[in-house]
Symmetry: C2
Subunit: 257 residues, 2 copies
């Protein structure tokens, strides 16, 4: 049975976790506490020398990168084709026209899963790390200029998501009519922005989504496709942290009186 | 025939160009001048609303993202399997063991092609943009803190490339014994750092590679695998720009005397 190392506070970890639980995959999920630095301790570095989560071990295979982990699991367990097109082995007898259609569908999927890295993910990650997570969780100083650059990237990515990837509302999901792994990756990154409650002077998720009703609608569609109970369970640890950060932020001005 | 829109000054454009030329693919290559802002003009935005290169048009298919473009071309033209494993349709009669081996090889490939985005690419791109390209080409101010963050990401990525991806020298290429598309993407990003000659006080490519002889060896191996003539041709426009930047940097202190 493969072992998946994750922390549910990590965005791409949650995407992998949701895929596993949604399909009841026989995967042993091991929690690694990022806030305790477990990912940088010798015991874990022996498993994954890159010192990151998520990470998958399956026999001799040692696999970093959430998108690759999800593609492999889709492949190994022959999950429904919408999650990662091309993972189910297609019949060699497919007509040329059908083969071409499948190639094009795979291509659109690949473009979305690659696009998210330097757009939604890079934007969200730098904004939330250099305002909240860096200083509060890892005790490293925030660099406001990097947060500002992340915000700029994110704002453009949200525009592109709305108009290009979701076709101005003509497609419910990033790659078409059905949910796929890039939807999971992007939604988990956007959810992380709820941690911005710790810095009320910084842009909040609701503000960032305000000009993009189609993105908001898509987030709801992804939650519904995953199943709200599983979606909320996967985000439970984050929700608890957000509640604590909100309480601390609310107490702060009062303390100053 | 597909049309590929690129600028050879763009790192991922060069990776796509090299793949096409290496295999003599019937692809119509159209040059878009980024320095003239052609990628943001209405004529191009009608083709690619995202306003970026590379971009591929093949009939109804409109495809952004270099990694997806290369995967699609490997698939469409059944290129040798090492460039993008899984692109050649494998026989449905493969034994279970062989199928598992192919799954694992694809997984390793996927992990490398996803890894490069937020490591080699994000590092190189932010460093060179926020020192040289931003102010000199696009007339936008450099943000030194973003360049410094990019440098940190890049230095860690070079370490990880050397020890993890190249296995401390036990593998000649990122995914094993043969060259693949993530090698092209990474090498084209690292070559871009030659533009740092414009800022002699900033870290230069040779300095960054000095602690990483295995990465340097890998760059030479990728050039050899591509074919030095094609590799140098693809980097010719960049080399000319680097020569101009070097001449201007050399003239600068003299002008101050």
């Amino acid at each position: 049975m493969p072992t998946l190392y994750i922390d549910l506070m990590s965005q791409p970890s949650r995407a992998c976790y949701i895929l596993c639980k949604k399909h009841g995959l026989p995967v042993d999920v091991q929690m690694i506490r990022l806030d305790k630095g477990e990912h940088k301790k010798p015991a874990y570095l022996q498993i994954n020398p890159l010192g990151k989560v998520p990470f998958l071990v399956d026999g001799d295979l040692r696999l970093p990168e959430s998108a690759a982990i999800m593609a492999y699991l889709c492949d190994k367990y022959s999950l429904p084709d919408n999650w990662h097109p091309g993972s189910s082995s297609s019949s060699g007898q497919a007509a040329a026209h059908q083969q071409q259609q499948e190639q094009q569908r795979r291509a659109v999927y690949e473009s979305a899963v690659h696009w998210q890295h330097l757009n939604i993910r890079a934007g969200c990650m730098r904004l939330v790390f250099h305002t909240v997570i860096g200083p509060r969780v890892f005790k490293v100083p925030a660099v406001p200029q990097v947060a500002a650059d992340g915000l700029k990237v994110l704002q453009q990515a949200l525009k592109d998501m709305e108009s290009y990837w979701l076709g101005g509302g003509s497609r419910p999901f990033l790659t078409g009519q059905q949910v796929s792994t890039p939807d999971l990756l992007c939604v988990c990154d956007l959810e992380q922005l709820r941690m911005m409650v710790a810095e009320p002077s910084q842009p909040q998720l609701e503000q960032l989504l305000a000009p993009h009703p189609i993105v908001r609608q898509w987030m709801a569609a992804v939650r519904a496709a995953v199943g709200p109970a599983l979606y909320d369970e996967a985000h439970g640890k984050l929700a608890a942290a957000v509640a604590r950060l909100a309480a601390a932020a609310a107490a702060k001005p009062a303390a100053r009186l």
